[in-house]
């Protein structure tokens, strides 16, 4: 192993015929497995070698969950503003807009999943750490209202470090706002499935993420109210192995199932069928 750690001087890439450009290669954060990017993408960013669930972009989740060509994005024009004149917020927003290629930390869509109509919201960690500000709250509220109108089940995939500090208490109130929408869905008996991905912490975990009629989590995802760093600080010692992982939450009774990304669509479909009085999908009768 020693030769791995040796600092090498960056050298000129050798020009070889048929060489694959370096940005085509990706490395698994968990096991170090290196593969062509395309291979990770085709496997929904699950490491082909160790099954580690890598981060995935919002539109990619839409791609694996909703039926092909069945969906359209909703409220794509909502944009964050800088209501508090917060230091450097406009610059950070601008940077995020450029880098993430999404309009904010969430994408909302309406479409079908296994031919069932569904409204889907997916948070995008690449946009300012998936932080929840006014736009995230408003998009969820509007998608929830669309669910109330059309009686479509709601599915939200969370990935967030928490509330967006730069919008102050306005972002804190998005927790209450999203909870208010979900309580309306509850009254009308419209199913809501919450999916927790890595990481789901802070204000997002302490609002809609933990309010699902069913709560699913991806393997290995870090889920909690306080981030591990904060707890380590108050504790003054290291956290127990596996603390705040999806599997830990399953054991403590906080989530219904830990679900492999490849099984997400099927599992959500099964849950929604049960909760909306629909017959089982083909193939479930015997299993």
């Amino acid at each position: 192993m020693a030769w791995f750690r040796k600092e090498k001087k960056p050298r000129e890439p050798r020009r070889e015929r048929l060489e694959i450009p370096p940005d085509v290669w990706e490395k698994c954060e968990a096991c170090g497995h290196t593969d062509i990017r395309e291979k990770f993408v085709r496997n929904a960013h699950v490491c082909p070698s160790c099954d580690f669930h890598r981060r995935m972009r919002a539109h990619e989740y839409v791609g694996i969950l909703l039926d092909t060509d069945s969906w359209e994005e909703t409220e794509a024009d909502l944009r964050s503003v800088d209501p508090l004149n917060f230091p450097e917020y406009p610059a950070r927003l601008k940077k995020a807009l450029g880098a993430a290629g999404e309009s904010d930390a969430i994408l909302t869509a309406t479409g079908t999943m296994e031919k069932m109509p569904v409204n889907l919201a997916v948070m995008d960690f690449a946009f300012m750490g998936g932080s929840m500000g006014s736009v995230v709250g408003e998009k969820i509220a509007r998608l929830g209202e669309l669910s109330l109108e059309r009686k479509f089940p709601l599915v939200i995939i969370s990935a967030s470090g928490g509330a967006r500090m730069q919008e102050g208490v306005l972002s804190l109130m998005q927790m209450a706002k999203t909870a208010a929408v979900l309580s309306q869905l509850h009254d009308r008996r419209i199913p809501y499935v919450s999916i927790l991905t890595n990481p789901t912490t802070g204000g997002v975990s302490a609002s809609y993420a933990m309010l699902g009629d069913a709560i699913l989590a991806e393997p290995g995802a870090v889920i909690g109210f306080a981030g591990p760093r904060v707890i380590r600080q108050t504790l003054g010692q290291d956290l127990p192995e596996g603390f705040q992982t999806a599997e830990f939450l399953l054991d403590r009774g906080m989530v219904d199932q830990v679900v492999h990304r490849h099984q997400l669509k099927k599992t959500v479909g099964q849950l929604l069928r049960h909760m909306s009085g629909k017959p089982a999908a083909a193939g479930w009768e015997t299993s």
Binding site: D77, L78, R79, S80, V81, P83, L84, F86, P87, E88, G133, S134, V135, G137, E138, A141, A163, M165, E167, G168, V169, L170, S171, L172, M173, Q174, M175, A176, K177, A179, A180, V181, L182, S183, Q184, H186, D187, G202, G203, S205, A206, S207, Y208, A209, M210, L211, I223, G224, F225, A226, V230, I231, T234, L235, L239, F243, Q244, R252, G253, M254
Partner: protein, 321 residues
């Protein structure tokens, strides 16, 4: 009164000392000092008024956190009668950082629930510095549902730097407990009035704060993150006075700021020199404001109440469409 005085209150404490000294002398020598006392008392009032009129955001944070301010149990003693405390979440344990129970406001039964801090180290350890575990929020929810069952209004007092971050709190579902309260409070079929009496720290505060009326005492603060946390993230320095002051200003956490942002519904004025300068006067004002708000809310049918409450929170946020 000299103990744990805030830095900017030093001149006030100085005059208080002079007044005490004068009174002591008068008693010792049984002579009248009224002539000497009067100008000092005037000076004290003027100075309190001046200092408190120009409080900066970070000074308000210090005031809000002061152990000399009235806490939930103080208001229970001063504004209410016939209080009987109810303990426990019926699942795990009693969390002393949240107190609650039946009480009477001007003779009528209400459910009072609030964060409870401690004044000294021993009390703070018992109260966990007013930072609840999940069972605290679950006790609060139990009491709210109890109030709903008997058509009794809920009055909450917010006074916490935040929900506790620790192993047990995480293990028992801190996120779920807070989320559940937000959810249930948005459809509780009785009037809810929430008052921030000290520090309103993040989700741990909001878990008692989804209300028909959200009020703040004049010098209290309400924030999505502690000023220290914000400063640490933004300027990699959560300790120096400069960065804390910058964070306190940037986060817009004062009552006037939040009224302007339509996050809260009203500000309750504090006595000259802050709530801690005169507990009784503060309690009297709070008492009157609560009655006034409750009278308005009691006229609304439950469906209307819930509809309005939800709509209020659904309107919160600023964005470009």
């Amino acid at each position: 009164m000299g103990t744990s005085a805030l830095e900017f209150e030093k001149p006030i404490v100085e005059i208080e000392k002079q007044i005490d000294e004068l009174k002591r002398m008068a008693e010792e020598k049984s002579m009248s000092v009224d002539a000497e006392l009067a100008p000092l008392v005037d000076k004290l009032q003027a100075m309190r008024a001046e200092i408190y009129r120009t409080l900066t955001p970070i000074q308000r944070v210090q005031v809000a956190r002061s152990p000399r301010r009235p806490f939930t149990l103080d208001y229970l003693r001063l504004c209410f009668t016939d209080f009987i405390e109810l303990h426990g979440d019926r699942a795990f344990r009693d969390d002393a950082s949240i107190v609650g129970g039946w009480a009477r406001l001007e003779g009528e039964t209400v459910m009072v629930i609030g964060h409870q801090r401690g004044r000294d180290t021993k009390e703070n350890l018992y109260r966990n510095f007013g930072m609840p575990h999940p069972e605290g929020y679950r006790k609060a929810l139990r009491l709210m549902k109890l109030a709903e069952k008997f058509h009794v209004p809920v009055l909450t007092f917010i006074d916490t730097s935040g929900a506790w971050a620790g192993l047990g709190a995480e293990e028992r579902g801190q996120s779920e407990a807070i989320a559940r309260n937000l959810f249930e409070m948005s459809e509780l079929a009785v009037p809810i009035i929430a008052t921030v009496i000290g520090e309103g720290g993040s989700g741990g505060a909001l878990a008692l704060g989804v209300a028909d009326r959200v009020l703040m005492l004049e010098h209290s603060v309400y924030s999505v993150i502690s000023v220290e946390g914000c400063a640490a993230i933004l300027w990699k320095d959560g300790k120096s006075p400069e960065t804390r002051e910058k964070a306190a200003s940037a986060l817009k956490i004062t009552a006037p700021d939040l009224l302007e942002l339509k996050i809260i519904d009203g500000i309750i004025p504090e006595p000259v020199g802050g709530a801690h300068a005169d507990h009784a006067a503060m309690a009297q004002t709070l008492h009157d404001v609560l009655i006034e708000n409750l009278d308005e809310l009691k006229r609304l049918k439950p469906e209307k109440l819930i509809h309005r409450r939800r709509e209020k929170f659904l309107q919160m946020g600023r964005y470009e469409d």
